[in-house]
Amino acid sequence: MTVRRRLAPWGRHAALVAWAALVLFPIFWMISTSFKDAWEWVAWPPHWLPHEPTLHNYRQVFTFTELGRELSRSATDQVFNIWPALRDSVVICSLASLASLLLGTFLAYAVSRFGVGGKNFRYAILTIRMVPPIVIAIPILMYYAIMIPHTTTVLFGARLSLFDTSLGLGLLYTVTTLPFVIWMMLSFIDEVPYTLEHAARLMGAGRIYTIRRVVLPLVASGMVVTFLFIFILNWSEFLLALTLTHPNVTTLPVLLNKFQSAVEGRLYGPQAAIGTVITVPVVVLGILIQKHLVKGFSFGMIRR
């Protein structure tokens, strides 16, 4: 064995370790900072690990009551804590992801089985996602804040505004993730052989019964993967949430950006604490997805 060959795996591992360190460092720094008290945030030389670890930041963002003197900082007084934003994020992201999943699954079924939209429809759907969100953010703002309220006032005498509402942001999240759902579910539904549905049909099952008892159970793991995927997308969406909500609805990524104080500057500690809290579900879901993807599909009895 040549020296080069013996060194090749080492070299590869070294490169990967270096890359992993590069990628993971900001996350490490965030977690580390979340346990630091104010004087350590920008200490020089930097404190890699907190010298005096504290849960102060977490207590601050998770507190239920008015902040006491001990916890109060002027910026956190403005933003207060994580609970309203957490509630908004969880409600909007889960409902929007669920709606998108259901709509997208049935749309994908229609595309897969009836060729809805023609041959290139599935690619056309994906190109929708190539539009940068910033392009739609401002026009949607116009609609939400001005045109829809105005129109409904004129027509029905009632002002309906979607600006700064969970419904408004949720609708948009549903729409923007729909292409992903259709695209992903298409690949899963295409895998379900037609003959299974033919067999069910010959046994007298209607279309809905067949979808419910045959197709959906077979693509269930695909639906889970898809749901987790778009949930993560929605969970970390920033631009649309920033543009279309304020002050009533606040999602976590928007909240994260608000820890700014005229007196104390940027409040890195609470920010890092919230960042850590937000990241946890993403990482957990990511691991879940991986498990599901690896498990994959096993249509054992479908001979090809």
């Binding site: 052989p193 003959t195 069910a200 045959v214 077979l218 054992g300």
Partner: protein, 354 residues
């Protein structure tokens, strides 16, 4: 009660005509096999019978009803698919029970009928397994049990044995025939395998290019083919064809072969094709027949295939007794069993000089 009639059945997909006018009557309790090469329209015909495809024109009659407008589930059919189409996420029990569940049969009755069907197909021990845990033959039985459990009047089968290995296929052939006899239902079976057609059918329907070429009992289709396609489709090895024409004396003439037609009314100058099966070609020792060189031998065990180069474009294959002493390079004379020689029109391929 479960007679089937197909009347002027046509199916086109865009510009492609899959089925170009099929008329067929199938009797109650009959085992009919639709056979033909792939793309001949047999599966499309079956799908129109089942209702999975809608005929472009024509009528499908099951029992006394025209069923064109009925959903597949309303036609009192059971079908076994080529890929079996067992539901991979359901247990064998639930697979078999599926049709009963759709019809909202009470739970106790479902259990009794599934058990009965499973016992009939000898798969009772498998009921709690998933289809993926069954062997090929077991899965086959599950698919059959799922079909018989609803007691349909008509069974449709679309190449159900095509993915089994050869030995299992022969076993399942016997099994299917037994099932047919015990159920007394009408079976319509689609296959491209002539052996399956020959062994199982009461009547064979030979199809090619969207049309029925011949309908008849297996042996008559084999020995009395309606045209050159049917003649060539059945038989392993295939029938020998010799292209020639009718000579001025009314005899059949081809390079190397001349055969007296015995006043069968052949028109001199018309083109004819002679057909004879390998088992009806004989090596002659008495100086009769035509000379040829043995170019190849294929021993089969129970007989030997002898390839004879007689001067025509292809060899004539003779199936002779395994004890026959013959070697490559031998010069032998051969004859045809006169009563087993058939003729086809040189242009249309239809039977001639019957």
């Amino acid at each position: 009660m479960a007679r089937i009639a197909l009347r002027g059945l046509v199916k086109t997909f865009g510009r492609i005509t899959a089925v170009a006018g099929v008329d067929l009557e199938i009797g109650d309790g009959e085992f009919v096999v639709l056979v033909g090469p792939s793309g001949c329209g047999k599966t499309t015909t079956l799908n129109m019978l089942s209702g999975l495809d809608t005929p472009t024109s024509g009528e499908v009659v099951i029992g006394d009803r025209v069923v064109n407008e009925l959903e597949p589930g309303e036609r009192d059919l059971g079908m076994v698919f080529q890929d079996l189409a067992l539901f991979p996420h359901l247990t064998v029990f639930e697979n078999i029970a599926f049709g009963l569940r759709v019809k909202r049969v009470p739970d106790a009755a479902v259990r009794a009928r599934v058990r009965e069907a499973a016992e009939a197909m000898r798969i009772a021990p498998l009921l709690d397994k998933k289809p993926a845990q069954c062997s090929g033959g077991e899965a086959q039985r599950v698919a059959l049990a799922r079909t018989i459990v609803t007691k349909p009047a008509v069974f449709l089968m679309d190449e159900p044995l095509s993915s089994l290995d050869a030995k299992l296929r022969v076993e399942m052939r016997t099994e299917l025939k037994r099932l047919h006899r015990s159920l007394g239902a009408t079976f319509v079976y689609v296959t491209h395998d002539q052996a399956e057609a020959m062994t199982m059918a009461d009547r064979i329907v030979v199809m090619d290019r969207g049309r029925v070429q011949q309908v008849g009992p297996p042996l008559s289709v084999y020995s009395d083919p309606a045209n050159r396609f049917v003649a060539g489709f059945f038989g392993v090895p295939a029938m020998n064809f010799v292209d020639g024409e009718v000579g001025t004396g009314g005899q059949f003439q081809a390079p190397g072969i001349t055969l007296d037609l015995g006043g069968r009314g052949a028109v001199p100058g018309s083109r004819l094709a002679l057909g004879v099966r390998p088992e009806h070609v004989r090596l002659a020792d008495d100086g009769a027949g035509w000379p040829a060189a043995v170019s190849l031998l294929e021993p089969l065990g129970d007989g030997t295939l002898v390839f004879l180069d007689y001067g025509g474009p292809a060899s004539v294959v003779a199936k002779v007794d395994a004890e026959e002493k013959v070697a490559v390079g031998d010069r032998r004379r051969f004859t045809f069993r006169p009563d087993r020689v058939v003729f086809f029109d040189g242009a249309t391929g239809e039977r001639a000089l019957r």
